[in-house]
Amino acid sequence: MRPIKSLTALALSATLGASMLSTVVLSAAPAGAASSLPACPTSALSKASGTVNIDFWEAMTRANETALEGLVANYNSSQSKVHVNLVQQGGYDVTWSKWQAGLTTGGLPAMAMIGDSNLQGAVDSKSILPVQSCINATKYNTKTFLPRVLSYWKVGGVQQGLPFNVSAPIFYYNTQAFSKAGIAKPPATLPELIADAKILKSKGQGTMGLKLDAWHLEAWLATANQLFVNNGNGRQSRATSSVFNTSTGRSLFTQLKALVGSGNAGTNPANGASAYDNLLGIGAGKYSMTIDTSAALGTISQLLGSGQYPNVTLGVAPFPTLKANPQGATQAGGAALYISNKVPAAQQAAAWNFMSWLDSAENQATWSTETGYIPIRTDAASTSKVQTYWAANPGYKVPYTMLSTGVTNNATSGAVVGPYDQVRIAIANAENSMYTGGASPKTALSKASTTVNSIIAKYNSRI
């Protein structure tokens, strides 16, 4: 357990006309004894004769997969030093399972897109080369990157992975249903959402599709500036227990229980065959609104805009915060690109070469307009490509605005937890126990808290 000095966060907000930018400076004092970074073997790439082939494990599907294939083809044809071989894994969980399997079989790729929940796991597995070392070695300029996006993937002040496909939970709704129910604008807060659900149901316009996703719960807590785990949300030092069993947490659970209990919302799990029933339900008219990742925006727009669903016009709005006048902001989510330290040096350097290309302003502009992931740098957002696209498709701007505004601190940077996947499952289970098991919000929340604590304790004891 390395001692990690605390991060100092300064938040400056400036309102400039229509757009709000929040610049945050996070200065990380270098940790005392231990964290000397391994070197980034950039010279190995230039010394290598011939093309260096690297495998890139990625978790994209449908429209997002097509977009990624396009970018890779571009990169491969634009130079001959590195050839990237795209390996589609179909999901973050599959990628992580394969990565763990690869730790024994030695079949790790040079580069992988690993989901947000596996950050601490990647660090603990000692199988990655933190990108910070390559950032330092190549003097890569991250000044225009959105601060909260970078800070999510920094542990102990060290940038572990390079963010690439970043998303936030956003609010999807059927504008036709809303206008038929007489609701003028989408809800800005959870209480408004609950009120709107009641009206929509009474007017026969469908209800709310509530996905049982712990990520959404974390987002609600983050907008209320509520920490998830201790030790600075796991960022100052390894988290040892949960800290969300507070009045804020209880308020969240109470409202959700009221929403589902009153019959104004249907639920579906976040994984498995029914993972997108909430969005499909909008097409079927069962739901008129839902919350889901902005990463699905491209696919859903294609689907609902295909003309097969004449009663549905897709609307997109920011994630309704837990309270009005939010003290916090939503955290970034999605995935980042990691370099494996189990491959030859030339491949590691090649991986850095490719991922830094992917994160160029121009490529982030292309990527974001084709998928729904946000452009993670302001100079990508300000390109005419993105600006024109946003003018025509204002929904795509929504997650960017959410992640580029608001304070950056430990709460809004999101939590860092080793057994994060298990923790999320436990919390979703506790949430569901309110809906199907009749548990009270207080009981459900404290059960979530104790289960999470024991999961974290067991994991920490095995490290």
């Binding site: 763990q100 597995s125 000692k126 994984n271 065959a273 029933d277 996947d421 499952i425 994991y459």
Partner: protein, 299 residues
């Protein structure tokens, strides 16, 4: 016949050669892993390979067996097996009795009933998964539209999967029961009927006892089938939701410990031993209570 010592030894050599392939495979892939479980179960394994394991002896058994997750997995498994096996066998028996006579169209019926034997796990799961889907399935039309939907409800997910498993088991059960029925000597059945026994009495007092070897076989085969249920759970529910929906039967729990969100080989070893013991108990129980009643013709 008497063999010379040389011939006898040649026989031994040949026997060794013939037995070797099977023994080798069994040794490496059946016995070794089985015993290795006992050793591995004593170690607390790290979340990622390469980090050291800690020897903690039997306390690992204690901590896993006393955990609520294990308890719930055990209950789900028992409930599932007790639901699938008797129902499947009864339905198979009923259909076999109905299809037993050589009447018109019987051949077609027999092919139909046997067909679920060839529906593989993935096929069955996808078909039933679609039918039970709350949006694109048939249940809302039939008036069954609970919230949460069947395959997302902690109460109904396991019975739904059991229903699917019974459907898939039906083919095997039917074939076994039909073969058993067809092997029964007609003379005994004729004799009892002439004696004035009604069809129902004949069935229960004569046919079923004579079918007991078949029923015993069906029980053994069915139990193993039920314990092996895995694919349907993986396709329809998935690793993330299995424990919450109470469908993490023992085998699935083992899988989660191998390749789930947080692999734990030590835990997987403990659970594998538990699975073995439970199947052993079930088989021994069946041996004792059912086989005792098995009536062998001519004995």
């Amino acid at each position: 016949m008497i063999l010379t010592p040389k011939a006898r030894r040649k026989n031994w050599g040949l026997a060794a050669l013939f037995l070797f392939p099977s023994l080798f495979i069994f040794g490496v892939f059946t016995f070794y892993p089985f015993f290795e479980n006992f050793r591995l179960a004593m170690f607390q394994t790290p979340p990622y390979p390469g980090l050291p394991s800690k020897y903690i002896g039997f306390s690992q058994y204690a901590s896993i067996l006393s955990s609520s997750e294990f308890m719930q997995s055990l209950l789900s498994t028992l409930f599932f097996v007790l639901l699938v096996v008797p129902t499947g066998l009864l339905l198979g028996l009923a259909l076999a009795v109905a299809a037993h006579k050589a009447l018109r169209g019987m051949a077609i019926f027999r092919v139909i009933f046997s067909s679920t034997v060839v529906t593989s796990v993935a096929v069955g799961a996808l078909i039933f998964g679609t039918l039970m889907n709350p949006i694109v399935g048939f249940l809302p039309w039939l008036g069954i539209n609970p919230n949460p939907p069947l395959l997302q409800s902690p109460t109904w997910a396991l019975p739904s999967i059991a229903a699917m498993a019974i459907w898939q088991f039906l083919g095997l059960s039917f074939i076994v029961m039909l073969a058993g029925l067809q092997s029964l000597p007609d003379d005994v059945l004729e004799a009892s009927r002439v004696d004035g026994a009604g069809a129902w009495t004949t069935f229960w007092r004569v046919t079923v006892p004579m079918l007991s070897p078949t029923i015993f076989f069906g029980l053994v085969v069915g139990t193993i089938y039920a314990f092996q249920t895995f694919g349907q759970i993986d396709i329809l529910i998935g690793s993330q939701n299995a424990s919450q929906l109470h469908v993490n039967v023992l085998l699935y729990y083992i899988y989660q410990s191998i390749q789930g969100t947080n692999p734990d080989p030590g835990q997987a070893a403990v659970l594998s031993i538990v699975l073995f013991v439970i199947i052993l108990i079930f088989t021994l129980l069946q041996l004792r209570f059912v086989e005792r009643r098995v009536h062998y013709a001519g004995k």
